[in-house]
Amino acid sequence: MNIVVCVKHIPDPNVPPEMDGDRLKRQGVQGVLDPGDEFGVEAALQLKEANGGEVTLVSMGPEAAREAVTRGLSMGADKGILISDDALAGADALVTARVLAAAIKRNEFDLVIAGVESTDGYTGTMPGTLAEFLGVPQVTFVKTVESVDGSTAKVDRQTATGYHVVECSLPAVLTVTAGVNEPRYASFKGIMAAKKKPLEQVSLGDLGLSGDDVAIKQKIAQITPAEERKAGEVFEDDGTGAAKIADFLKEAKVI
């Protein structure tokens, strides 16, 4: 079974984000493998352990994104592809999906796995667009992978009020939630092994794409600070905290 996992190198989510003009500042900011993607890597590794095959990581990003791919390799993925090109700076979801699809299509695949949404952009629309470019179905918000055989995946998909069991023919795109598994730590052995695993770096030209294919059309018109919600009274509990909250609730006519 050939499994591709989309991984993203993002600014460390524990550091407050900054803007660089109309884009998220990425230069000089400590980057990490998107924590949401670790669940995708883990899901792929478990499927490989059960079914055999190969796990390929694919990422789009600057040179620094090698770090994120390498982290996935040290968890146990077999190889990585990094699409890096200056023309891709600031790419939107449509461009990202088109580029990832071009890279993934070069080889046969059974499954493409991604996180539900990136931690820095959190729109969650890229996987659907990617699935359409690949001409395959998608099941998003997978919280349990029940079974996968050569031709079908059976998964539980979260809904607003519960979950649906979905049967999907392969190849397909799946996005997995953080509830789907417990990602393994990269062992020392894994980290050493990752250094020897193939990590192919490709440009747009290698994928047969031109500047027109990746032109970013959606533009930011302006950024303005939102009206701030003012912080009210914050105090250390000295035993009267509960009473003060109850007074507040009374004032708000809740009691």
């Binding site: 984000p17 939107d92 449509l94 539900v116 729109t123 629309t125 890229m126 996987p127 659907g128 667009t129 990617l130 699935a131 359409e132 395959v136 179905p137 998608q138 099941v139 918000f141 059976k154 998909r157 809904t159 607003a160 009020t161 519960g162 979950y163 649906h164 069991v165 979905v166 049967e167 999907c168 023919s169 397909a172 939630t177 953080a178 509830g179 059309k217 959606q218 533009k219 930011i220 302006q222 303005t224 701030e228 919600r229 009210g232 009274e233 914050v234 105090f235 250390e236 509990d237 905290g241 509960a242 003060k244 909250i245 109850a246 507040f248 609730l249 009374k250 708000a252 809740v254 009691i255």
Partner: protein, 316 residues
């Protein structure tokens, strides 16, 4: 006059009210029509008309209920070539995200996600960094595609009525590949979370799943509903239907009580529209305190039982 479409969802035969919020906004921007696909579409069309859709493109075909995203994107793409709308507004739901994502690849329009306002036919707004910055985006493509966060607009009826046009798009076999075979509901008791006047919500600070019982008791005393953060839902403490935030439900109650919640962006975007926010957390640096009207730094497991008693006393 621009032609604005609203993509309306039906779940188990019932119209998702998010479409009514979008129609209310769309009326201000141009001629408004709706698309609704699946069982219950015709009945939904009546309501959609009352909220401003002059035409409703409807299909009762249950293929749309059984299969995920592909049939809808296929049909929308066909309808677009027949009717040439300028802008399509989608609710930011699980299904509509997938459908709009696929449609973006078909039409070559850049899809804008997470919009919190639609400023004109070619401009929409989103909030980033936990809602502290507003970003106006020039939309692109034909038609322009926007996913709008729930509760961005207050729905109000216009008293109109819609002409129903049957959607007669052939659905080829290759769009029927991801099929729902079972449906499971995990409904909680009490008022519906997204409609409750008071929401009591818990996070990691509650330390263990059993302590959610304290929130249940407090919420029922206040006539409210109980919510949770993604962290505790992912940890399996409470069902997903209770999740408040970017993924999950958006709430705008009169009072929101955040218990043991630090205030990650993912959570804050789902609750910062509350009229009053009360926060209880051990860590005085927790971001939730920056938006709280009243914040108590302390042990939630000590304060909540005291609060339950205080509320009981005041209720007499």
């Amino acid at each position: 006059m621009s032609k604005i479409w609203v993509y309306a969802e039906v779940h188990e035969g019932k119209l998702d009210p998010a479409a009514l919020e979008l129609l209310t906004k769309a009326r201000d921007l141009g001629d408004t029509e709706a698309v609704v696909l699946g069982a219950g579409a015709k009945e939904a069309a009546t309501t959609l008309g009352e909220y401003g859709a002059s035409v409703v493109h409807a299909s009762e075909d249950t293929t749309y209920d059984d299969y995920i995203a592909q049939p809808h994107a296929h049909a929308l793409n066909e309808l677009i070539s027949q009717h040439s709308p300028d802008l399509i507004l989608f609710p930011n739901t699980y299904d509509a995200r997938d459908i709009a994502g696929r449609l973006s690849a078909k039409t070559g329009s850049t899809l804008m996600g997470n919009a919190t306002d639609v400023l004109s036919v070619d401009k929409a707004q989103t909030a980033i960094f936990g809602g502290t910055q507003l970003v106006d985006v020039d939309l692109e493509g034909s038609p322009k595609l926007v996913l709008v966060r729930p509760k961005s607009f207050e729905p109000s009826a216009s008293g109109g009525s819609a002409t129903v046009q049957d959607v007669t798009v052939d659905l080829p076999e290759d769009v029927k590949k991801a099929k729902r075979v079972e449906r499971h509901e995990e409904q909680s008791s009490g008022p519906k979370l997204d409609a409750a006047a008071v929401v009591v919500s818990g996070g990691r600070g509650l330390q263990e799943p059993d302590n959610f019982k304290l929130l249940d008791e407090l919420a029922s005393l206040l006539g409210g509903a109980v919510g949770a953060t993604r962290a505790v839902v992912d940890a399996g403490w409470v069902p997903y239907a209770m999740q408040i935030g970017q993924t999950g439900i958006t709430v705008k109650p009169g009072v929101y009580i955040a218990v043991g919640i630090s205030g990650a962006t993912q959570h804050m975007v789902g609750m910062k529209g509350a009229k009053k926010i009360i926060a209880i957390n051990k860590d005085e640096e927790a971001p939730i305190f920056s938006i709280a009207d009243i914040g108590v730094v302390g042990d939630a497991l000590k304060i909540v039982p005291q609060l339950i008693e205080e509320v009981k006393n005041r209720k007499g």
